[in-house]
């Protein structure tokens, strides 16, 4: 069932030519986590702020659980927001911060204490209720911000780059925590990030945004494996990009090689995107629809995965091979054959 619906949401900032958010529409089912993913300035934070009521859309509508909230002020929307800087109240303790939303909603004092304790326990901060924000570490502040947003049982949880202020190791930990808490409570959530790993790891649905529009709205797998546009293919994940010409539908000419693809434009110049993990080293004698002779030019070791940069008749390719395999031992100058399924080639008109 649709819980959050955005209809042609648009926001123009005075003095700028292009709208920051340009007619965004989407439906988000109850309990799902949506990641708004895109580079800075793509309109993802503005979209989030419009959902929260902190920014007023110039056009379009926002519906939560069938109710139109477009013209409601933020304090009447019942949404939990976690800000990038956390925005914890410095003059209140962790418990005071968490209690704030309950108090504003008129929750009785006795009930409030229990719900504050529950919310702090939910994020693993039982012993920190009396601490002021400045006495907490970055990760702890983050958790207080999450507990504060969730304590009033919001209709929608909104997170604005909640992990960007944390260091790499903590980020992964808190990321998994947020996801676990969100799934336990079943709170429909919108999450803004510029980090594709975060988006792919946490989200049920990813909306890749570019210049105020949604380029693709799909599951993480779909976005990664079958990018809908050239922008999505370049922004999410790595890919080798080959200049090509459509010979006939399903057949392409790239450099001196001929490649088969499941889907191509009817004719004309095109660009082929190949994800590194879609290229497989072929054992001798094994045939494939697309088999390319290649020579390793560079090898990057990152532990479990080895990235091989190769020259081939089709152009420069990137291949990922698992550590511990025969191909992982290849060195620059070594020759190999790489195969790729026609369905794994993404072809966009150039």
């Amino acid at each position: 069932m649709t819980h959050l619906r955005l209809e042609r949401l648009t926001r123009r900032f005075p003095g700028t030519a292009a709208p920051a958010v340009d007619g965004i529409s989407l439906d988000l089912p109850q309990g799902a986590l949506l990641a708004l993913l895109g580079p800075s300035g793509c309109g993802k934070t503005t979209t989030l702020r419009m959902i929260a009521g902190l920014e007023v859309p110039d056009e379009g509508r926002i519906q939560v659980a069938g109710r139109d909230v477009t013209s409601l002020p933020p304090h009447r929307r019942n949404m939990g927001v976690v800000f990038q800087s956390y925005a914890l109240f410095p003059h209140l303790s962790a418990a005071g911060n968490v209690a704030f939303g309950l108090e504003m909603r008129g929750v009785a004092r006795a009930d409030r204490a229990k719900r504050v304790a529950d919310a702090l326990a939910l994020v693993g901060l039982e012993g920190f209720a009396a601490r002021k924000p400045r006495q907490l570490s970055g990760g702890q502040q983050q958790r207080v911000a999450l507990a504060r947003a969730l304590a009033p049982q919001p209709d929608l949880l909104l997170l604005d780059e909640p992990l960007s202020a944390l260091d790499a190791k903590l980020r992964e930990e808190v990321r998994d925590e947020i996801r676990a808490v969100q799934q336990r409570l079943g709170t429909t959530t919108v999450f803004v990030t510029h980090d594709q790993t975060e988006a792919l790891a946490m989200a049920d649905l990813v909306a890749v945004m570019h210049q105020g529009r949604i380029e693709q709205l799909a599951t993480p797998e779909e976005v990664f494996e079958r990018p809908a546009t050239r922008f999505v293919a370049t922004f999410v994940g790595r890919a080798a990009i080959l200049a090509a010409e459509v010979v006939s539908p399903g057949l392409l000419r790239a450099g001196e090689a001929t490649l088969q693809a499941a889907e191509t434009p009817p004719s004309g110049r095109a660009e082929i995107f190949i994800r590194p993990h879609h290229l497989r080293p072929l054992a001798d004698g094994v045939e494939a629809a697309n088999a390319l002779p290649a020579r390793v030019t560079r090898r990057t070791y990152t532990g479990d995965i080895i990235t091989l940069e190769c020259d081939s008749p089709a152009g420069r390719l990137l291949a990922e091979v698992p550590g511990g395999t025969q191909a992982a031992l290849l060195r620059p100058g070594d020759a190999l054959r790489l195969g790729v399924e026609p369905g794994d080639l993404r072809v966009f008109p150039a």
């Binding site: 902190l54 009447r76 800087s85 109240f89 400045r134 504060r148 909104l158």
Partner: protein, 277 residues
């Protein structure tokens, strides 16, 4: 080292123009006034004793403190909404609005008093309006009395309060108010539960500055009080130039200075204890 050298001219000017006269004043306060009214070189505490035991001094001190505290509180209360407006204005307007708020500092105190006379006098704007509307038959006495001094002092302290509050509130993160709104707080509850508590240190600093300036104010009480309002500063002036009792004027000035220094040190200690780090 070079920094210290560059501070030397300012230090010299301060030494010659401020420290030396204050020391001189301190010295004079220990002199004796003869029955004939002449000043006699001495090292005596007679003058201090006379001042401290005189009920009139305590009346003066009480008047001065209540007047400045009231005016400072009113100035802070009036400056706060102005500052909040400036803070919420679009960035390109902020500079202009801030300049407007402190513009009264660019006008001489005397000129401002003349302006107030045109507004508050018996034939002034306000009385003309009130009688014109038939609200009063007699003009209200708004100047040349305590009311006039209160109005004038409040107005003259407001720009200073604005300066302190603009600086203090610029560090207040507007995300905190947004966070309060998303947690269900109306605008007024956000103000009382978030904005005001966080602005408290700035409000205290503004009040302290305004109070100190109010206590030492001379022009406004003198010119807008019409000779009916007596504060410590006007009394020092009268003692020095009308009674020509220099030791008394000097001693009273030293007492005022000492009180202000003690008050400021106390405030510093209190503020330091409230805000660790």
């Amino acid at each position: 080292m070079i920094g210290l050298l560059l501070c030397l001219p300012a230090a010299l000017i301060l030494a010659a123009g401020f420290v030396w006269p204050v020391l001189l004043l301190g010295r004079i306060s220990f002199n004796r006034t003869t029955d004939m009214g002449a000043m006699e070189e001495a090292w005596t505490l007679e003058t201090y004793a006379k001042i401290v035991t005189d009920d009139f001094t305590w009346d003066l001190a009480w008047n001065t403190i209540t007047l400045s505290a009231g005016a400072a509180a009113a100035a802070v209360a009036l400056a706060l909404p102005v500052t909040l407006l400036i803070r919420s204005a679009p960035p390109r307007w902020r500079g202009v609005l801030a300049l407007m708020a402190v513009a009264p500092l660019l006008v001489s105190g005397t000129a401002r008093v003349v302006g107030w006379m045109a507004i508050l006098g018996d034939q002034g704007m306000i009385n003309a309006l009130l009688t014109g509307l038939g609200l009063t038959s007699q003009p209200l006495r708004l100047i040349n009395n305590l009311t006039g001094v209160r109005i004038g002092l409040t107005e003259s302290l407001m720009p200073y309060c604005c300066l302190v509050l603009i600086a203090g509130l610029s560090r207040l993160d507007s995300r905190l108010e947004e966070a309060a709104a998303t947690l269900g707080a109306t605008r007024s509850r956000t103000f009382f539960r978030v904005t005001l508590p966080l602005a408290a240190p700035a409000l205290a600093a503004a009040f302290a500055l305004a109070f100190v300036l109010g206590v030492s104010a001379f022009i406004t009480p003198r010119l807008m009080g019409g000779g009916r309002v007596f504060v410590v500063a006007t009394e020092i002036f009268d003692l020095a130039l009308e009674t020509v009792d220099w030791p008394a004027a000097a001693a009273l000035a030293m007492l005022l200075l000492g009180t202000l220094v003690v008050a400021m040190v106390l405030r510093g200690v209190l503020a330091g204890r409230e805000a660790p780090r």
